[in-house]
Each structure stands twice: as C-alpha cells, then as structure tokens.
C-alpha cells in the first residue's frame, strides 16, 4: 500500500525549472531517503509535498487525498509532519511550549479558547515525554531561541515528531551535528518513526544506508533512480551522477 504518490510533479521558479517531472511512490511504513547533490531540488520537493509551495504541474496523493496546492495546515492535519533544513522554531517561546504547540492539533484542541492548558495533564505529560526523548527535559523552561545549535536541531526534530504523524519528513535532520550527536539523533529518529513512514533528506551516506529501506536519487530536479541501498550503490548511473566520490571516500 502506498501512502504517498507523486505523479509528474513539476515546479518552476520564473523560467527556471527546479523540479522537472518527479514521480515517486512511498510505501506505508517504509523509510525512504532522498539524496542528491546540492541544489538538486530536495528541499523544494519537500516544500511541494508539505504545502509550502504550489506545484506548477502534477499531482500529489497522500492517503487517498489530493494534497497538491493545499495549505500546509490542511496537509499537516491529514497526518504529515515535517522538519526544516534551516531551524524553524518559535524562538521566544520556551522549549516546552514549542513542543506542546506541536501537539495541540493532533490532540484535538483545535482553536479552543475554553481549555486551560495548565489543566491538560495528559497533554502536558505527552509534551514532557517528547522532551525526554529529544533529551531536552531539563531545558523545558529555557527560551528555545537561546539553545545551543545541536539542541535547536533536537527541538526542530521534536516539533516534527511530537504529533505522532503517520508520515514524517525530515530535511537534513542531523546536519551540523557532531558525530556523537548525530548518532543519538539517528537512534532517536529510528525509535520514533517505528511503524511510521519516514522520508528523509540526508547527505551523510553512512546514515542513509543505515536507516533507509529505499533511496531515491534526485539530480537536477529529476529522480534518476529509486531502489534499495544495495542496488543504488551498484547503479552506474547513480555513481556517475553523484555517488562515485562519496562511496570511494567512505
């Protein structure tokens, strides 16, 4: 069963074609990595799926609903959560509030102005649980904008996974982390997305080969291959376009 299907998705910015006909089928429960050189359009593809950008052409189907050109909040409510390559948090809110806000919709609070948040024991416990998972429990009351970089990345991840969405999309979740921090983060991602679908953009090949069930290679706005890690590694087209140097050096 596929959870997400892209059919000939295109995106132009003015005259430049950034995404040039991407078709992709993500299966329910799979861990899918998208790799490709800088500027290939990986983040743009994420933005198209999550509703930040409108598509120029093509369709995107999520769980049976057409979601292309829908606003991000409607897509999020269908069960798609994402993180950003550039940290995108609520800087003057504390860490706890950041995560709790991310939990509100999925816990059915909507735009309520008749629930007092302090009294929502279950919600607050869930929030603390997420904080524990991302290792920020003792920073709960700290202004998130003043966290160290790696901690902000952890929070970025926490906001994305908090709602327990069916499909989680992470755009370079461990970029800029030290080796041990990245290891922890990957462990966390694996644990949290268990039984869920994950799409991840990542440059670090060891992580990609470690986590992913399947890999898509995006080059110049086109997917040149989608396959298992072994086959991707062996694919001459991929090696030529992108992987060659990385595989030999790794």
């Amino acid at each position: 069963m596929s959870i997400l299907t892209l059919k000939d998705v295109r995106k132009n910015f003015g005259v430049s074609e950034i995404i040039r006909g991407v078709s992709l089928d993500i299966k329910e429960g799979e861990k899918h990595a998208i790799i490709g050189p800088n500027g290939a359009g990986k983040s743009t593809l994420f933005h198209l799926i999550s509703g930040r950008y409108n598509v120029t052409a093509g369709t995107i189907n999520f769980n049976g609903a057409e979601i292309q050109n829908k606003p991000p909040y409607e897509i999020a409510r269908l069960g798609l959560a994402r993180s950003f390559q550039v940290t995108n948090i609520f800087p003057r809110l504390n860490v706890f509030e950041n995560v709790r806000c991310a939990l509100l919709w999925s816990n059915g609070y909507g735009y309520s102005f008749w629930h007092l948040l302090g009294k929502q024991t279950e919600l607050n416990e869930k929030t603390m649980h997420v904080l524990e998972q991302i290792g920020l429990k003792d920073k709960a009351l700290f202004p998130s904008g003043e966290l160290a970089y790696a901690q902000q990345r952890a929070l970025e991840l926490g906001i994305a996974i908090a709602s327990g969405a069916e499909l989680v999309m992470l755009d370079e979740p461990v970029a800029g982390m030290s080796h041990s921090e990245a290891e922890n983060a990957v462990e966390l991602i694996r644990r949290i997305t268990e039984g869920k679908t994950l799409i991840m953009v990542e440059h670090d090949m060891s992580i990609v080969f470690d986590v992913a069930d399947r890999i898509s290679v995006l080059v110049y706005g086109e997917i040149i291959a989608t396959d298992t890690p072994e086959n991707i590694r062996a694919n001459p087209k991929v090696q030529e376009a992108y992987l060659g140097e990385v595989v030999t050096s790794a």
Partner: protein, 412 residues
C-alpha cells in the same frame, strides 16, 4: 507558580481595585480611577493584538469607539424606556459591538501580519472616523452624543449618579475582563497566538492556519476594547468622534508599549502611568503631550521591554537577596538625573510661557532675566555631568548584584 500564589495575586488585585477609593476619595481621585479602569481594559485588549499576537494596530480605537457609541445609544434607549434593563450590562453591549466590528473587519485584515496589517488598521481607522462625522444622526457629528446613566432599574437602590458608584461598577468589570484576558493567554488559541507571532510559517506546519489564529485574537481583542468603550460611555455619559479616531488609537499603543508588551501586567502599568500623566500633568502644563512623547522615545530607546520589563529586570538580584545593594547607586544616579530632567522641563516651560514671571515648584522664575537662564543651564550641565559620572558605579553595582555566586558556577 503555585495555585495558591496565583490565586492570592488575583485576590490582591481585586482588593486593591475595591479599596482604592478608601484611601483617595477626592472627586479628582475618583475621576482618575475611573479613567484608569477604562484605560486598563483598553490597553490589555490592545496587547492581545500587539504583545501576544504580533499585530501592530493603528486603529484599535474603532472597537472602543463603536462599543462606546452603541453603549450611549443604549443609555438613551433606557432613558426613553424603549428598553428596560440595568446599566450594569452596558459594558457588555459595548463588548458585543466591538466583537461584531472585529469579526467583520478581522475577516480580511488578519490575512497577514506586519506592515500590511498595520496599514489596513490605519486605513480602517481613518475610514470609520471620517464616516462617523458624516452620519451625524447616529454619531452626533463633532459634538458627539450623550446619555444619562441614572435611568433603568435601580441596583439595590443605587442609581449610579455618583462617580464613586460608577467606579465600583467599573472595578468589577475591570476585574472580570482582566481575568478573562489572562485566561485567554492560557488557552490553545491564546498560546498559538504567541506561536504565530513568533513564526507564522511553522505554525501552519503543525496544523494551524496563522490567519485563523490571528482572527480569533483579533475578535477577542475587539470584544474587550468594546467593553472598555462601554465603561467609557458609563463614566462620561457622552462620546465623540475623538474616541474612535487616530488620537485614541495612538494613545492605547503608547500605554501598552510604555507598560511593556511582553508581560501580561505591562499594559496595566502603562494605563496607570499614562492616565496619571494625562490627568495630573495636563493640569500643570500645556506641554504635557511633549513630555509624554519624550517619555515614549526614551522608553523605546532605553527600556524596550517597558516599565514591566524594567521591574522584571530586578528579579535575579531580588532572588539573590541583592536588591538592597542597588538602592544607594540608584539614588546617586537618580537624583542628578531627576534634577537634570526637571531643569530641562523648567527651561522648556520658560521658553513657552509668555509671562515674565513663572512659578515652578513654588519658585518664582523671571523668564527674561539672563541670570535665571545662566543658573538653569549651569544646573542642567552639572546635573548631567554628575549623572554621567555616577553611571559606571551603577553598572558595577548592577553586575555585582546579578553576579552568579561561586557556589552556583559549576553548572552549565
């Protein structure tokens, strides 16, 4: 904060509101308290927009004014026995009108925050103010409209003819409005307003339409501004176009800003300070608006978090028990700074007055004598110099009062 502690803050607030007239019972004091009551509700409602929701409005008086106009019309209807209900509920009428106006205007103005929102609010403000002068039957033109609050059923024999009686009525409304505005900040809608202020884009990726979140805050803000307008109608029994135009919109912005946008009590502090300045200073000087403007500029420059922020700055020193260390340095810098400001005020007033002799704090100053000016300038320069000289000491005292004791240093 513990439940008990929170509750005692609220009870304290209620007691202060109700007890104030026991301590200051002159006609002037009561009239100032009534103005404060109105200003507190109005500026708290404004902060729902700017402080909590990140929406800079230049037209908040629209909701205050429309609420007030309808409230005066309600008083007229009660007077002519078209309707029969107690004037206790007049602020509610103002609130409903404020809410309806906000629903209508907010439906398009909250699409974006930032400059676009600010410009729309300015435009709507001008539009409504100009329109109100055209429809003279309803708005009464330049003169406004007036009513009489003493009609309708009595409340336990009280007819609200006295300002003091209105004060108690207003105090109850202020308390209720403050409680509800505070509670709003603790709800999902209120908290998401902060999130949208901080990062509207990310809010959309966690399931919230930034526009809808803004719209809800906007409506709540209109409701409470209308309640403030209703209190205004009860207190003054008349209302004019000035109460919904840019002057009033500007004043509420100043109040909230000077008080401190980042704190719930900031606008209360701002309302108290500005009402006091407005009613006391304006008795002494025609230039009080100038002083107000200077105060605003100084606040923006030196106290970007307002008076509430200034008070909260001392939390660390207070928790460490070091507040006393600051008292003397504050005096040493404060006295010359105060002297400098007062001398400047004296010179400004001497320039403005046409009299030859001018009374300043009981001193008779000859405005055209060179000696007066020489003395004033000398004092100003000396006081300025003394302030400057004392500042490094103040800074040192500040740092030592806030310093982390060696015992705590191991962490982080």
């Amino acid at each position: 904060m513990g439940m008990i502690k929170k509750l005692s803050v609220w009870i304290g607030y209620l007691i202060v509101l109700l007890a104030l007239p026991q301590f200051f019972d002159s006609i002037l004091a009561i009239s100032i308290f009534n103005q404060m009551a109105i200003a507190i509700v109005f500026s708290l409602s404004y902060n729902m927009l700017l402080g909590q929701g990140g929406m800079l409005s230049f037209g908040h008086a629209v909701y205050f004014g429309l609420g007030g106009f309808l409230a005066v019309h309600a008083l007229i209807l009660i007077e002519f026995e078209t309707v029969y209900f107690s004037i206790l509920f007049i602020p509610l009428i103002g609130g409903v009108i404020g809410l309806l106006a906000a629903i209508f205007i907010g439906s398009f103005s909250t699409r974006k925050a930032g400059t676009i929102f600010a410009m729309i609010s300015l435009g709507i403000g001008e539009l409504i103010a100009a329109t109100s002068l055209i429809f003279t039957d309803f708005f009464g033109g330049e003169a406004g409209i007036s009513g009489d609050r003493t009609f309708g059923p009595l409340f336990f024999g009280v007819d609200f003819a006295q300002d003091l009686e209105i004060y108690y009525l207003a105090a109850i409304w202020v308390f209720i409005a403050t409680v509800f505005m505070y509670l709003f900040t603790q709800t999902p809608a209120g908290r998401m307003a902060n999130a949208v202020r901080e990062n509207p884009e990310r809010a959309e990726f966690i399931g919230y339409s930034a526009r809808r979140v803004r719209f809800i805050s906007f409506c709540a803000s209109g409701l409470f501004a209308g309640i403030a307008g209703g209190l205004f109608a009860l207190n003054y029994e008349f209302i004019t176009e000035e109460n919904l135009n840019a002057i009033t919109s500007g004043r509420v912005l100043l109040m909230a800003y000077i008080g401190g946008l980042g704190y719930f009590i900031g606008p209360i502090i701002g309302a108290v300070i500005l009402t006091l300045m407005n009613s006391l200073l304006s008795n002494y000087s025609e230039l009080w608006m100038l002083y107000l403007g200077i105060m605003f500029i100084l606040t923006v420059m030196f106290l970007p978090r307002g008076f509430a922020g200034f008070i909260m700055m001392h939390q660390t020193a207070w928790l460490r028990g070091n507040l006393k260390q600051l008292a003397l340095p504050y005096l040493i810098s404060g006295i010359p700074a105060f002297l400098f400001s007062m001398t400047c005020v004296a010179m400004i007033e001497m320039m403005q007055t046409e009299e030859q002799s001018f009374s300043f704090f009981g001193m008779q100053l000859a405005t055209d004598a060179a000696l007066t000016w020489i003395v004033a300038i000398t004092i100003a320069v000396a006081a300025f110099y003394a302030t400057r000289r004392s500042l490094p000491q103040l800074r040192d005292a500040w740092e030592s009062a806030n310093a982390i004791p060696a015992s705590e240093k191991t962490e982080s």
